[in-house]
């Protein structure tokens, strides 16, 4: 079978959250995770937006209810209480939002790690690479390998920068239909094709016999419900579950197809890029946020993430017999997003989910050591906590990647090289510290 080599054409979106707090000021758990398309539907949120946890261990506690339709009951609440109450409320709000972000991030990582540890497909090294990392890593020469991974990173980052700029331009000139169409196309690919691949690999791992009609039924239902939930309306939990699954699928694709060293360098480079793009005055993400705030509209009405149709650059003697003539996967480059503060919720971009999961997933692929995975997991959560703390202090959109990824990388390399031999020696002798 011959594999055709085709060039990628991609459109890149950013996935990011609404940081403007004009109309979206009611505390909304749905919008806390993703900016949804339609205006918030009270009926779906009714049972979810219960009042905040009532702290019973302080003397002056007040039940705080989060209103759904009334704009900013929180603001009213705050205005009428003395400063002390406000600080305490802020602290508890902050803590609740931190936990509301911890849980989906943890779930995404758990899904990725569970898949990596059980389905061997995602850890098998393949000669196929994404078009964005064209340089092959030669395991024999360290210098060459490093150079190639740096080149791969530069290619990837420049593609991301170009895509971001295209997106900003599209947004500035109000080509909304284009953006929506792209979005729908990309989520279609993700929900149908990637989940089909994933399901196929899981069945292979567990040796489950499956016939095509059942499979088509399952994938069809999964995909259609996903499209409806994400782009239109759906129960909050289901939408959150779909976002987690999507992020996990994307992270698994990255883990499989990014070469070893390139993946680490890309993680580092993308957090630097995130920092620049969000904080510099001329950064594309910042311009996007400011444009949206000027126009006083939610930045994007639906889940937006970049999708690039990638045609796999394959070798003539590929080991993958199913590839047929064309094997294309849709590579979603979710841009690292902002953590945005809204007077009701905190939002985290799907890109952040994806890169956190990539880091933890790659930590899980190295050997049978769980300590490294655990260390990276804790490091990322603490980084996220610190980022949210900064968010509470500065109250503007912040990049969510730099602190967490830095901690994650530091802990990965130090745990893998320093802590692992120590703990292994201790376990061999059964010494406890």
């Amino acid at each position: 079978m011959r594999l055709l080599q085709l060039w990628a054409f991609g459109f890149c979106h950013l996935l990011f959250m609404n940081t403007s707090d004009s109309e979206e000021d009611s505390y909304n758990e749905r919008s806390a995770l993703v900016q949804c398309e339609s205006p918030t539907i009270p009926s779906y949120n009714q049972d979810h937006d219960m009042s905040l946890p009532q702290e019973t261990d302080t003397k002056r506690r007040r039940p705080v209810s989060s209103g759904l339709d009334e704009p900013g009951p929180v603001e009213r609440e705050r205005a009428s209480t003395p400063d002390g109450e406000e600080e305490e409320l802020t602290l508890k709000y902050g803590a609740k939002h931190v936990i509301m972000l911890f849980i989906p991030v943890t779930l995404c990582m758990v899904v990725v790690v569970a898949t990596i540890k059980s389905v061997s497909f995602y850890t098998e090294k393949t000669s196929q690479r994404l078009i964005y990392t064209p340089f092959e890593e030669d395991p024999n020469s360290v210098g060459q390998r490093l150079l190639n991974s740096l080149l791969n990173t530069m290619v990837m980052i420049s593609v991301i920068v170009v895509m971001t700029i295209i997106l900003v331009v599209l947004y500035k000139y109000r080509c909304y239909k284009f953006i929506h169409g792209w979005l729908i196309l990309s989520s279609l690919m993700l929900l149908f094709w990637f989940s089909f691949m994933y399901l196929g690999e899981v069945f292979k791992t567990y040796n489950v016999a499956m016939d095509y009609p059942t499979l088509v039924m399952i994938i069809w239902n999964f995909g259609v419900v996903g499209m409806i939930c994400i782009h239109w309306k759906g129960p909050l939990r289901l939408q959150q579950a779909y976002l987690i699954v999507i992020s996990a699928l994307m992270a698994l694709i990255f883990i499989k197809y990014l070469p070893e060293w390139s993946a680490w360098v890309i993680l580092g480079a993308i957090s630097i890029y995130d920092l620049i793009a969000v904080l510099c005055p001329k950064g594309p993400l910042r311009m996007l946020v400011e444009t949206a705030q000027e126009r006083n509209e939610p930045i994007f009405p639906a889940l937006i993430y970049s999708s690039a149709m990638v045609w796999m650059v394959g070798m003539a003697d590929s080991s993958n017999p199913d590839s047929g003539e064309l094997h294309f996967t849709s590579c979603h480059m979710l841009k690292c997003l902002l953590v945005g503060f809204l007077t009701g919720g905190v939002k985290l971009g799907l890109g952040d989910f994806i890169f956190y999961s990539v880091l933890v997933g790659k930590a899980a692929t190295t050997g049978g050591d769980w300590n490294t995975t655990l260390a990276c997991f804790v490091a990322i959560l603490i980084g996220l906590c610190l980022t949210l703390l900064l968010l509470a202090i500065f109250k503007k959109a912040l990049p969510a990647l730099p602190i967490s990824i830095t901690f994650g990388l530091v802990f990965y390399f130090s745990t893998d090289n320093l802590v692992r031999p120590f703990m292994d020696s201790l376990a061999a002798h059964q010494y406890y510290i």
Partner: protein, 258 residues
Amino acid sequence: MTVAVFFGCTFIAFGPAVALFVFTIARDPLRVIFLIAGAFFWLVSLLLSSLVWFITVQISNKNSATQQTGLLIFGVVLSVLLQEAFRYGYYRLLKKANEGLLALSQEDTMPISIRQLAYVSGLGFGFMSGAFSVVNILSDSLGPGTVGIHGDPQHYFISSAFMTLAIILLHMFWGVVFFESCERQRWWALGAVVISHLVVSCVTFVNPHYQGSLIPTYIILSIMAAWAYLCAGGSLRNLKLCLTCKDKDFLLANHRPR
């Protein structure tokens, strides 16, 4: 047998700790955050001690087994001391943060008391310590293999699980006693905590003679449990009232006259 051993050892090692987490910590987001921060501090202390150990190993004679064991013992002692140092550091950080918050809010109560912080941070240390000690062993217990086929101890898994359970609970009690002694400036109590931690780690040097290591550990565990209970404000009277369901909280919750 392997899956049964895996589940058994997991539940032995983590059962009480997870139960404590679910019933007392999971509801309150602030406590969860401080738990994870405690785990992070333990991790950093482990990192530093591994770094020092690694450096000493690199400059030592790798062929001499006695020297390596000696270095490992040194690593253990250093790690214990660093853990306690980081516990103290975490205490100072929490005090500062609490004072800052108190100053900002001008209230007389803090959203989370220092005793709750002591409990939560101790449990955080315990979780991380237990996880790092036992998770690899648990994942090995799933796979194919025979325990002790070369003459090693047969009870490796179960003794590890019990030791981990003891360590997790001990960290929690140490946390409570430590913070309390720092609050009351009772430095002898602080020293006692550090020494008991050292004793617990050092008795594990006699492994695989498990009776030599597990029994003293559990004795120290009961002593620390009683001490922590007293530090947290408990007393025999409270205990009696609680057990006979005559304590205030229970009565208020059930609207039963005393």
